[in-house]
Symmetry: C2
Subunit: 294 residues, 2 copies
């Protein structure tokens, strides 16, 4: 990229940390990926991060938030893990473009990663919860209030565990990293982080391996139901569970094969996201630079 | 409508019958709704029906088919209950515009019925099976191969009954008219049509009433999961089950309240389709006249 193509600032507000970087027009990081714990004054922290990055560029910024952006008002409508952001708009955040975090991750993979050039894509991002996003005929699914693409709240078992959303048996209750750690704790009595369960699985712990396989199977059931609804060319799986893809792939693939309608399955690619933990930052920048349509 | 606004021919190919009528620009039938049993030579029958209606107008025609239209080729890609149609395109059917039947019913309700003017709509049409369609930001969801909107194949119970699609536990296995009759037969040992079960329910048969309530509950679970994905302004319920709405409404509404995320539920309307069994005919004509976007 030449000096005449200013980089875009991408900021990704997570549940516990904030990531940020300068991103060029090709979706590549121009400089290091900052990853710092969230401060008590989140809004002040975001302004500081932006100002520090702005010094080197003076350009457009995008912020991915763990919440919804109401398309009518442009304001943050809900953000369960970041309530300080609710009601804020671009004007309150130094004219930064706002985007939902899972949608940002999908936009990144769609513009610059595993789903580049694909017109119909489902993104499933499984970590603490299960976030999602959908590209329908080349545009991001937004919905009436910016809550479209909440794929983690597909109901898979109406008698299942209570979900943070108020429902029962949502996909994220079965297929998130949190669900994997919970399943393992219930079976073994050992409280472990998802990363620790993954290490145990790779070291030969059968219960740990099964915890990932069970979650992978449920993620595949959800993906299949979503494929039957959207008929996409591709499903992209990202987030922490994708980093343990070796532990979920077989069960995921089996469930997708069983539950996707044959005509939809035949043309369907499953890909792991290529942009890893930088996806939200790259997508926030891409949304600020390009918007959410072609 | 004036004589200078020629009516459009709408034809709706069902599993056992073919419906047809002339439809004006406002979506009103101009003349009677023909409803005849399907003939052995379906293609010949469609040409005859069109020619008979064409004599009075000489205008555009649309055909709703129980199958998918591949957007790349414009040809019918699958039609389990009408295999004679597979591979046909508009040129093979006297230049008639082709549309999936459930999508046609939704387009009719969206242009001329319960969902007129609404930008994000989910249509669930429960009869022999459960058909569906989705309007996303003012356009019909089509998908990569024209199979988008197969809402009846949302997976609700991966261990549930085998579905005609090859999967298990799809929505239509729990919420179709067929499922209602099956549930009643299993509980009572009496083989009845769905219409007979409805009459029994209204006459005080508790098992019959419960058959509708169970199906209504499942339809509500499916509708809630779909609402969480699409964040629509409205869900329109049509088809035979909608004609027994008094028997399903309470259970449907309860399930939607429990399983829809609160922020999505607050702005959500549920409506029964207004166009009844003419919806497919009106939608086929609307698609031929207007296409599937605004």
């Amino acid at each position: 990229m030449s000096a005449t193509d200013p980089a875009t600032i991408g900021i990704d507000v997570g549940g516990t940390s904030v990531r940020a970087a300068l991103v060029d027009a090709g979706g590549r990081l121009r400089g290091p990926l900052t990853d710092v714990p969230r401060a008590g004054d989140l809004i002040g922290q975001l302004r500081t991060i932006r100002a520090e990055l702005d010094g080197s560029t003076g350009s457009v910024a995008g912020i991915a938030v763990p919440g919804s952006i109401d398309p009518r008002s442009g304001r943050i409508g809900s953000a369960p893990t970041a309530p300080a952001l609710v009601g804020l708009g671009e004007d309150d955040l130094d004219s930064s473009h706002l985007c939902n975090d899972a949608n940002a991750a999908l936009l990144a993979e769609w513009r610059h990663g595993a789903a580049a050039g694909v017109q119909n894509v489902i993104g499933l991002f499984s970590g603490t919860g299960v976030g999602g996003g959908v590209i329908v005929d080349g545009s991001l699914l937004v919905g009436a209030r910016g809550l479209g693409g909440e794929l983690g709240h597909l109901v898979l078992d109406p008698a299942g565990p209570v979900c943070g959303c108020g429902g029962n048996g949502c996909l994220e209750q079965f297929a998130s990293g949190t669900a994997i750690a919970r399943w393992y704790a219930e079976r073994t009595g050992n409280q472990r982080s998802t990363a620790e369960v993954a290490r145990a699985a790779r070291a030969g712990d059968a219960a740990a391996a099964q915890a990932f396989a069970v979650a992978g199977g449920w993620l595949g059931v959800g993906a299949a139901g979503l494929a039957n609804i959207f008929n996409p060319e591709m499903i992209v799986v990202g987030g922490g569970v994708a980093a343990a893809w070796d532990l979920v792939e077989a069960a995921f693939g089996q469930a997708v094969r069983v539950h996707t309608m044959p005509m939809i399955r035949d043309g369907l690619q499953v890909r792991v996201g290529e942009l890893g933990r930088a996806a939200g930052v790259i997508g926030a920048a891409a949304a600020a630079r390009h918007g959410t349509t072609p």
